[in-house]
């Protein structure tokens, strides 16, 4: 019995034994199960591809009717026979607000991650990490509400000060916008993406090999010098990909931005000022969801969504490549 079972395990045609009588039906189960899991995997690939295909296929007819250049125009009027719409202004608002968010959240997030891995006393570590994760659990609409009602009046004087004292600098030129400015959106987004930066950086910092850290300390490094020479170089790819993932999240954030954004009147002049308003891709789509009544209008908004999809796709792919390269390096 055992002699006949051994070769079958090596791939020879199985001899009919009593053991096969037990296992043959379930091998069929094996095949189904394998197929099901493979099918699930394939369906995920298909889903993402379909997202791209459908967005492109519905954006193209709308773009064909566009009377102005889609990439460089600031106009957005999608109704009627001669729609004129372009993304320049949304692109500027979206990327600027996201970059501001990143500039604030990445340094602070990295410091918080270092605090959690290196500085926090052991009793505080777990609680502190949970508290930071809680920030991610707050629904984004609550950030929007809080930003609009509570946080805005606090930031307002700071922006007034900037425009009074640094108004000669184009980025801080006064615009008379009292609602949510690009800078304010950036600050709120920074709070929202902070837990993402922290969680990923913390994970990478915690993986720093102990010999590296102990080696640095043994050579007389202070704690900060140890972090600078051992922890940070090891974690740099992780921090870069954390920043990219957070940027992706900031680019696509919808409802919080929709709550706090100040929509500019059509035809208002171009300004470089961060204290101006303007719509992001996501907020414009969300604000006009009620307008989706003709294929032409819908197509225009889908075209804007497609640009947003491409932006986040690129940013996330870069993050993925960076972290993959690190894996190859450490393994």
């Amino acid at each position: 019995m055992t002699a006949s079972a051994a070769p079958s395990a090596l791939g020879d045609p199985p001899a009919p034994t009593w053991a096969d009588a037990l296992t043959v039906p379930s091998r069929r189960g094996d095949r189904w199960f394998g197929l099901a899991s493979r099918g699930a995997g394939v369906s995920v690939v298909a889903l993402v591809s379909l997202v791209g295909v459908f967005l492109v296929s519905q954006a193209i007819p709308a773009l064909a009717h566009d009377q102005v250049d889609f990439l460089t125009s600031r106009e957005w009027s999608v109704g009627g026979d001669a729609p004129r719409f372009g993304i320049l202004e949304m692109l500027w608002t979206t990327t600027t607000a996201s970059v501001i968010a990143m500039a604030i959240a990445v340094p602070i997030g990295v410091c918080v991650a270092l605090f959690l891995t290196e500085y926090a006393p052991t009793w505080l570590r777990r609680t502190a990490a949970t508290l930071v994760d809680l920030l991610a659990a707050v629904p984004s609409i609550v950030y929007g509400l809080w930003g609009l009602v509570v946080f805005r009046p606090v930031v307002r004087p700071v922006e007034d000060w900037l425009s009074t004292h640094l108004g000669w600098f184009p980025l801080f030129a006064p615009t008379g916008i009292t609602g949510g400015t690009i800078m304010f959106i950036g600050v709120v987004l920074a709070i929202m993406i902070l837990p993402i930066v922290t969680a990923i950086s913390r994970e990478v910092f915690a993986q720093t090999p102990t010999p590296h850290k102990e080696g640095a300390l043994a050579l007389g490094a202070t704690k900060w010098e140890m972090i600078r020479t051992a922890v940070l170089p090891f974690g740099r790819p992780g921090v870069v990909s954390a920043a990219m993932l957070a940027l992706g999240r900031a680019l696509g954030e919808t409802i919080a931005v929709t709550f706090i954004v100040s929509t500019l009147a059509a035809g208002s002049g171009w300004t470089w000022s961060l204290l101006s308003g303007g719509e992001t891709f996501a907020s414009r789509i969300a604000n006009n969801a009620a307008e989706f009544d003709s294929p032409q209008k819908t197509g225009a908004f889908i075209a804007a969504g497609l640009v947003l999809f491409i932006l986040t796709f690129v940013v996330n792919a870069v993050a993925r490549v960076v972290i993959e390269r690190r894996k190859a390096f450490t393994e």
């Binding site: 379930s26 189960g29 189904w32 394998g34 899991s37 493979r38 699930a40 995997g41 369906s43 995920v44 690939v45 889903l47 993402v48 591809s49 997202v51 459908f54 967005l55 410091c111 918080v112 605090f115 290196e118 500085y119 502190a128 508290l131 930071v132 809680l134 920030l135 707050v138 629904p139 984004s140 609409i141 609550v142 950030y143 509400l145 809080w146 009602v149 946080f151 902070l194 300390l217 043994a218 202070t222 010098e225 992706g248 999240r249 696509g252 919808t254 409802i255 891709f281 996501a282 789509i285 969300a286 989706f292 819908t298 908004f301 986040t312 796709f313 940013v315 996330n316 993050a319 993925r320």
Partner: protein, 326 residues
């Protein structure tokens, strides 16, 4: 006193020497012994100062990160708790309640949110778990890499894009109405990556000895997975599902595009209306000047946060009960 009592002049020099030695020894001890063990030398003043500054900066950033958390939670609780104390909040809907009326109920939105989350989970949990099983137990080569890459991309897809995609399929292509089920479909897109990633991590943690032991007993692969691997990783999978649900429940963008709000109870996902907590907040936004609307918004936000926190707590509790060390 005893040191100078007998022969003062003769012992003067010796006692000076002894005192000097003692002070040197004390200084040496202070230098070496009282320092932290790893720091045998104290380093230059600048280096020590930099180190201290870094320490302060780290603590300060943590404190800074806590400010918005405390601020937001504090505001939501302080401004929203009163409506939650009334039993009508949990038993009635907003039917016949105008923006200027105080209070009303949230049961329609709570129900809607729970139904939406349950249907989303029913679709995305099996799909996500099977995908994770494929990645860990079966996947080799190019397809596995493609699946893994796409899961990453999917986790970065903004909710508004997922909603637009479903709109393009459901409404534009198939010509259906905007209904709650379409919202669930777009939320599935957002939940799958969370489930896949957390399940994948947990399956990877299951020791290979268990699988090999099972194979050695002649147990087929699929029974090994369903009876040995999945139960071992169960609590971790629950954690992932709960965190995914928490994210999905707080989403608003797909609801704006695909799930019209109503003030009455609506439980049919194919009926055209899906009242949920996020859209209930959004509903009162246009009347934000009214104190009653504002209070209702905070109360709804508090209800939503409580729901999401509850799921998070269950998830963390499941994680702590995990049978495999993470």
């Amino acid at each position: 006193m005893s040191a100078t009592s007998a022969a003062e002049t003769a012992q003067e020099s010796r006692s000076t020497l002894a005192r000097l030695t003692a002070t040197r020894r004390a200084a040496y001890r202070a230098d070496v012994v009282t320092d932290d063990p790893p720091q045998l030398t104290r380093g230059s003043a600048t280096r020590r100062l930099t180190d201290q500054v870094a320490r302060v900066v780290m603590w300060a950033s943590f404190g800074l990160a806590m400010v918005p958390l405390v601020w937001i939670l504090g505001t939501v609780v302080a401004r929203g708790y009163e409506l939650l104390l009334a039993s009508s909040w949990w038993t009635t809907s907003q039917r016949n309640i105008n923006a200027a009326d105080v209070g009303g109920g949230a049961i329609h939105a709570i129900q809607g949110t729970l139904i939406e989350a349950a249907v989303t989970a029913a679709i995305s949990v099996p799909l996500g778990i099977f995908t994770a099983i494929y990645l860990v137990e079966y996947g080799r080569g190019r397809l596995a890499r493609a699946v893994s890459f796409m899961v990453d991309i999917l986790s970065g897809v903004p909710s508004i894009v997922a909603a637009l995609f479903v709109y393009a399929v459901w409404v534009t292509t198939f010509g259906f109405q905007r209904v709650g089920f379409a919202v669930c479909l777009s939320l599935v897109l957002l939940m799958i990556p969370v489930v896949v990633r957390s399940t994948e991590e947990m399956l990877k943690l299951v020791p290979n000895d268990l699988r090999e032991g099972s194979y050695a007993l002649g147990v087929p692969k699929w029974i090994t997975i369903t009876r040995i691997v999945l139960p071992t990783a169960f609590s971790g999978i629950v954690t992932g599902v709960m965190l995914g649900l928490a994210r999905v429940m707080g989403e608003t963008a797909p609801l704006l595009i695909l799930g019209p709000y109503t003030k009455s109870i609506a439980t049919n996902l194919f009926d055209g209306y899906l009242p949920t907590l996020p859209t209930m907040i959004n509903q009162d936004r246009s009347e934000i000047g009214l104190a009653s609307a504002m209070e209702r918004m905070w109360a709804t936000a508090l209800t939503l946060i409580l729901l999401v926190l509850l799921l998070n707590l269950i998830g963390r509790w499941a994680a702590r009960r995990s049978t495999i060390a993470s």
